[in-house]
C-alpha cells in the first residue's frame, strides 16, 4: 500500500492567529460590528463562526447574531452522491433583512457550496450584502465566486483533501493537507 502523505498547514496557535486577523478585517471593512450577522455553513463553518463571534465580543464588546445554514436541500448534485447522507439543521433565529451577512466556511473549493448557501440565505430575507469569510482557499473554482476574507491561500491538487478541525480547546485545532490514494478524491 502506498503511504498517504499528511502535512500540517496550521496548528492551534496558527488557526487562532488567522481567525483573529480575519475578525479584525471583518470589523475594519464593516466599520464596526453593527448590522453584522454571522452565518456558518454546516458543518465546517459552524465552529468557525462561533470563534469569530467570541472574538468580535472581545474586540467590539458586542454580541453579533450568529446562525447556521445547511445547504443539502440547495445542492446541485442531489442524485450524484449515490446515497443520501444525513441532513444537518438550519437555524437562523433572527431577521437578515438589511443586515450585512458574513457567510463563514472552513474551505473554499469549487464555490458550489457557497452558491447553494447564498440561495438558502435569500430564502430567509433580503440582506444588505453578503460577504464571505473562509479559513482556507484551496483554489479550483467552478463558479465565479471569491472570498472577501481569506485565512490562508493554499495551492492544492484535486487529489488532496484539506482537513479542518476547529473544535474543543484551541490547542487541539489543526488544519491538515492530506494526499489521497489514487482512485479516491474528486
Amino acid at each position: 500500500m502506498k503511504k498517504i502523505g499528511i502535512k500540517t498547514l496550521l496548528d492551534g496557535k496558527g488557526v487562532d492567529r488567522v481567525l483573529s486577523r480575519l475578525t479584525h478585517e471583518i470589523i475594519e471593512k464593516n466599520k464596526g460590528a453593527g448590522e453584522v450577522v454571522l452565518v456558518g455553513i454546516a458543518s465546517g463553518g459552524i465552529p468557525l463562526s462561533q470563534v469569530i463571534r467570541r472574538k468580535i465580543q472581545v474586540i467590539e464588546g458586542m454580541d453579533v447574531p450568529t446562525g447556521f445554514v445547511d445547504i443539502t436541500l440547495y445542492r446541485d448534485d442531489l442524485a450524484r452522491a449515490g446515497y443520501q447522507a444525513p441532513m444537518k439543521r438550519t437555524e437562523i433565529p433572527f431577521s437578515i433583512d438589511e443586515k450585512k451577512v458574513i457567510l463563514v466556511d472552513d474551505v473554499l473549493y469549487t464555490g458550489r457550496t457557497i452558491r447553494a448557501a447564498m440561495d438558502a440565505l435569500i430564502d430567509f430575507g433580503r440582506p444588505r450584502n453578503i460577504q464571505l469569510a473562509v479559513l482556507i482557499d484551496r483554489g479550483h473554482r467552478e463558479l465565479p465566486i471569491r472570498a472577501d476574507f481569506v485565512g490562508r491561500n493554499v495551492p492544492t491538487s484535486r487529489s488532496e483533501t484539506v482537513l479542518v478541525r476547529v473544535e474543543g480547546a484551541p490547542e487541539e485545532w489543526t488544519v491538515l493537507l492530506r494526499e489521497d490514494p489514487p482512485g479516491k478524491g474528486e
Binding site: 436541500l73 440547495y74 442531489l78 446515497y83 443520501q84 441532513m87 444537518k88 438550519t90 440561495d119 430567509f124
Partner: protein, 310 residues
C-alpha cells in the same frame, strides 16, 4: 447511516435505524416548513405522480404539498376521472404513466400488495400510500414522529389502538413502526374486527376498551370505515359507539398526560366524542402537520440515491 432504499412499500422490513433516519430528515423538513418561504429547490426537475385508485383527500394533498415544497412537479391522477373506469388494468395505467418519465409514483389502491406489484414492473420509485388492508407506511412513520415530538421517546409507552383492526392498514404500519421502537401495543375492537393472529405480533388483544385504555400513554382511535361495513361486523353504530367509542369517562382511565390520535377523517360521535376530538390532548392536527414533513423526507430520500442517477 446512508439511505439506499429505492421504494417505500411498507415498514415490515424497516430497521429502527432507518426509521430514525427518516424522522431526522423530517425534522429538517419541518424547519423548512416553519420559514416564511416554505419552498426549497431540492427536487427541482423531478416529477412526482400521485396515482390514487381510492378516494383520499388528506393523504393526496399531503403528498402534493410535500412535493411542491421541495420544488418537484406534482401531477395528480385519480381513478374517478381516468381510464380505469373504462376498464384499464392497474399495470397498464402505471406503464402509461411511467412512459411519461416520472421519478416517483405515489400509489394508493384497494388491493393489498398493489404497490409491491407495481414496484416489480416499473422503473421509477414507488411509495405506498395505502394498499388495501396491508400497509400505509407514511402514516406509520408520521404517527411515530408525532409521538416522539410529544413524549420524547417510544420505548416503554403503552399505546392502545382501538377500532376496526381487521381492515386497518394503519394498524399494520403502526405495529411495525411503534412496535419495533419498543412501544407496548394493545389492540382493541369488537371480536369480529380483531383477528386473533394479531397476538403473534406481540401486541395484546382485547375487546374491553377500558382494559386497553387503562394506564395508556397514547390512544389511537381508528375510523370505522362506514364504506367497508356492508357486511355486519357489529349490530349497530350506536352500540359500537357505546362499547368502543372514546369519551371523557373512558379517557380518564388513561395516564394523566395521555394523548389521543386519529388518522382521520373522524366520524364524530362514533369513535371519538366531539369534546375529546377538540380537546388540547388531541394530536389530530399535529399528525397532519407531521405528515407533510415525513412525506417531504420520503420524497427527498427517494429522489436522491444511486438509483435516481440514470
Amino acid at each position: 447511516m446512508e439511505w439506499r432504499r429505492r421504494h417505500v412499500l411498507g415498514l415490515s422490513d424497516f430497521h429502527p435505524e432507518e426509521m430514525e433516519f427518516v424522522i431526522d430528515t423530517a425534522r429538517s423538513m419541518e424547519e423548512v416548513v416553519s420559514r416564511d418561504i416554505k419552498k426549497v429547490p431540492a427536487l427541482r426537475g423531478k416529477t412526482v405522480v400521485n396515482l390514487f385508485f381510492e378516494a383520499s383527500t388528506r393523504t393526496r394533498t399531503s403528498f402534493e404539498m410535500a412535493g411542491k415544497r421541495l420544488s418537484a412537479d406534482v401531477v395528480n391522477f385519480s381513478a374517478a376521472s381516468s381510464s380505469v373506469t373504462k376498464g384499464e388494468t392497474l399495470l397498464d395505467t402505471a406503464r402509461n404513466i411511467e412512459a411519461m418519465k416520472p421519478n416517483i409514483l405515489v400509489v394508493r389502491h384497494s388491493a393489498s400488495g398493489a404497490a409491491l406489484f407495481l414496484s416489480r414492473h416499473v422503473s421509477c420509485s414507488i411509495i405506498n400510500a395505502g394498499d388495501g388492508s396491508n400497509e400505509h407506511p407514511s402514516q406509520g412513520l408520521l404517527d411515530l414522529y408525532t409521538i416522539l415530538k410529544v413524549k420524547g421517546k417510544i420505548a416503554g409507552l403503552k399505546v392502545a389502538i382501538v377500532g376496526d383492526i381487521l381492515h386497518s392498514r394503519v394498524v399494520r404500519s403502526d405495529l411495525h413502526s411503534l412496535g419495533r421502537m419498543g412501544a407496548k401495543l394493545w389492540l382493541c375492537g369488537p371480536a369480529t374486527l380483531v383477528p386473533r393472529e394479531m397476538e403473534r405480533t406481540g401486541a395484546v388483544v382485547t375487546s374491553d376498551i377500558r382494559e386497553a385504555v387503562r394506564g395508556a400513554d397514547v390512544i389511537i382511535m381508528l375510523r370505522i370505515q362506514l364504506e367497508r361495513q356492508k357486511t355486519s361486523y357489529f349490530p349497530s353504530l350506536r352500540e359500537y359507539s357505546r362499547k368502543f367509542g372514546l369519551n371523557r369517562e373512558v379517557f380518564s382511565l388513561a395516564k394523566e398526560d395521555a394523548v389521543i390520535m386519529h388518522p382521520g377523517p373522524i366520524n364524530r360521535g362514533v369513535e371519538l366524542s366531539d369534546e375529546l376530538a377538540d380537546c388540547d390532548r388531541s394530536l389530530v392536527l399535529r399528525q397532519v402537520e407531521s405528515g407533510v414533513a415525513v412525506r417531504m423526507a420520503l420524497l427527498y430520500l427517494l429522489a436522491g440515491g444511486s438509483h435516481a442517477a440514470h
